[in-house]
Symmetry: C2
Amino acid sequence: MQLYGMRISGNCWKAAQILRLTGHTFDWVETDGNAGVTRTPEFLKINPIGKVPALVMDDGVVLVESNAILLHFAEGSPWLPPPGLARTRVHEWLFFEQYSHEPYIAVARNIISWRREGHLYPDRLAECARRGAQALDVMEQRLTENSWLVGEAPSIADLALFAYTHRANEGGFDLRQWPSVHAWVARVAALPGVFTLPSREDRA
Amino acid sequence: MQLYGMRISGNCWKAAQILRLTGHTFDWVETDGNAGVTRTPEFLKINPIGKVPALVMDDGVVLVESNAILLHFAEGSPWLPPPGLARTRVHEWLFFEQYSHEPYIAVARNIISWRREGHLYPDRLAECARRGAQALDVMEQRLTENSWLVGEAPSIADLALFAYTHRANEGGFDLRQWPSVHAWVARVAALPGVFTLPSREDRA
């Protein structure tokens, strides 16, 4: 399989992470959205929507949408509970991540730390700060009395939210303000086989 | 069951629609987010995130996130394929809807036609017009040669995308520019048991 992704993207990290955790091998094809590679004719043949991650499977079928890829490979594994309330809770967190978390925390990180264009978008960053803090508040509420986002074991809900939360500092969020989230980040990072995104300092 | 929702919301429509299609009865509790009801202490006790839809089930368990509610009640029904590629395609559309479609098409509709504040947000509406058109382009591409978004039968992918697409005109999108989407809207609306959102004219 070939995974087209951007090394610093949490969404692409999700796809690589679940493939590794479920014992799949794949080739990584670095595809830099910030540099416009996802809008080239060559890439649009692979994913007409022009987004990474895009996973080309051995039969040529292409999977997109990071959380759909998490669900695809987690099915039947300990990372996804069977149908029922626990699975629905996982789904709730996955949609929360894409609607209420990623658009603020990931976007702030990309603008501030990778594109280094924070000075160009003060209004947008102010909204990211406000809405991102609300998202972290929701996580804090759950994690104050629970070790994992769903049930008593790690699931793809934890992976989906870990993707950008563990680098939220690069978007201007100081996780010490959300101590239960901070502790949970360390807990997820310590799981066997879990790897982390490159940090700003790795590049510097 | 009690479904807290806003009558004009496509996200709330999804929850009511799948409950009806799968034979569940429920009481509707009108909860107007535009009027601030979702931020009252009473409602925050039901859903601490302050969003509708929120479904209180008979055992008191509360489900949130419209697409998670679709998945919950569609499980085991003809509206959701079994695990495998077809189900993953449904997931891809559900995440596409929440990330790339609803934030532009639903938001434009609410600002223009329901809050009637279009004059206050010209920049935001310009982005909604651009990104919403991209989302409709993606749907058009799929529907040009297919009757339904996934496989050969309607699924909750069609319901999720129908929610706001069938009132996209109220957000400034003329569906005649996307003829295959336009025809698909009529096809979904004609399915037994499918109902539509109130239109701006219903209120006027």
